[in-house]
Symmetry: C2
Subunit: 146 residues, 2 copies
C-alpha cells in the first residue's frame, strides 16, 4: 500500500470511515486525470467499469460526496447539467474557470485577488467562507467563426 493511500486511510479512519478498494480506485482515477481536466461522476464510473473494475454508480456518487465532505475534492458547477470534481489542492485552490458555452472547453486561470475579495465579502456579511467559484462564460476562438 502506497504512502499516499496510507494517508487517505488515516484520514478516513479518523472519522470512522473505512478505506475500501472502490474508494481507492476512485481517488486514483481523479489523481491520474490530466491537469485541468474535470471529471463527472459518470466519467469516473465509465473509466473504472470500462477498466474491468466491479463498481456501481451509487458507490461513485457516495464516495464523491464523502470526499467533498472530507475536503479532499472540490465540487464544480460549470453551468452544465452535471457536477464535476477536482482535487482540492490546498495551495493552488485559487484557480477559476473560463468556459466556452459552445464547445464546453474549460480553461483554468489563477487569481488570488478574486478569492480575497470573495472571502472579505463573505466575512463582512457574517458568513463563514467555504469556497469561491468564479466562472467566466464566453465563446472560444475555435467557435467564434462557425
Amino acid at each position: 500500500m502506497s504512502s499516499k493511500s496510507e494517508v487517505f486511510k488515516v484520514l478516513l479512519n479518523q472519522e470512522g470511515f473505512r478505506l475500501t478498494n472502490q474508494r481507492k480506485k476512485i481517488l486514483e482515477v481523479i489523481k491520474e486525470a490530466p491537469d485541468g481536466q474535470h471529471l463527472s461522476a459518470e466519467d469516473i464510473y465509465q473509466k473504472l467499469s470500462g477498466n474491468g473494475e466491479k463498481i456501481g454508480v451509487s458507490t461513485v456518487y457516495r464516495a464523491l460526496h464523502l470526499l467533498v465532505d472530507l475536503g479532499v475534492l472540490r465540487e464544480l458547477t460549470l453551468a452544465e447539467e452535471r457536477k464535476f470534481y477536482e482535487l482540492c489542492n490546498p495551495l493552488a485552490s485559487t484557480h477559476h474557470h473560463l468556459v466556452c458555452t459552445q464547445c464546453g472547453k474549460v480553461q483554468e486561470f489563477e487569481d488570488a485577488s478574486v478569492l480575497n475579495l470573495g472571502t472579505d465579502e463573505a466575512i463582512s456579511r457574517g458568513f463563514s467562507p467555504l469556497d469561491c467559484q468564479f466562472i467566466v462564460y464566453g465563446i472560444c476562438s475555435d467557435c467564434v467563426y462557425p
Copy 2:
C-alpha cells in the same frame, strides 16, 4: 397593451417569434419578483398555475430558454440542482452571489472589478466574453451555531 410589452413584442417579432399570453405572463412574474429573489422554472410555473393561469411546465421551460437567448434573462447556477433566472439588467449586471450552503439563503453584492477581471481574462485567451458568475459559498450567521 403596455409600452413595455410592446417593446418585448418587437424584440420577439424581429427574430420571427411571437408574443403569446404565456410569454407575457412569465415575464411579468419575473419582473414582479422582489429584488434579489431568484426564481426557478418550477417557481414560475407554480406561481402562474396557482394563480389560475392555464399553462404547462414545458411552456415555462421553453420560454425561459428563449428569453435567455434573447438576452432578456440571465441563467444562474447557484450550486443547487436547479437553475434560477433573473432579469438581465443591462446596467447593473455586475452583481454576484453569496450563498449559504446550509439554508440556501442568497445575498447579492456588487463588484465591478471582478467583472473586469473576468472579461480581461477571457479576451486575453481569445474568448468573446458573455457572462461572469462569481459565487461565494459559506455558512451564514444564522446557521453557524446549529
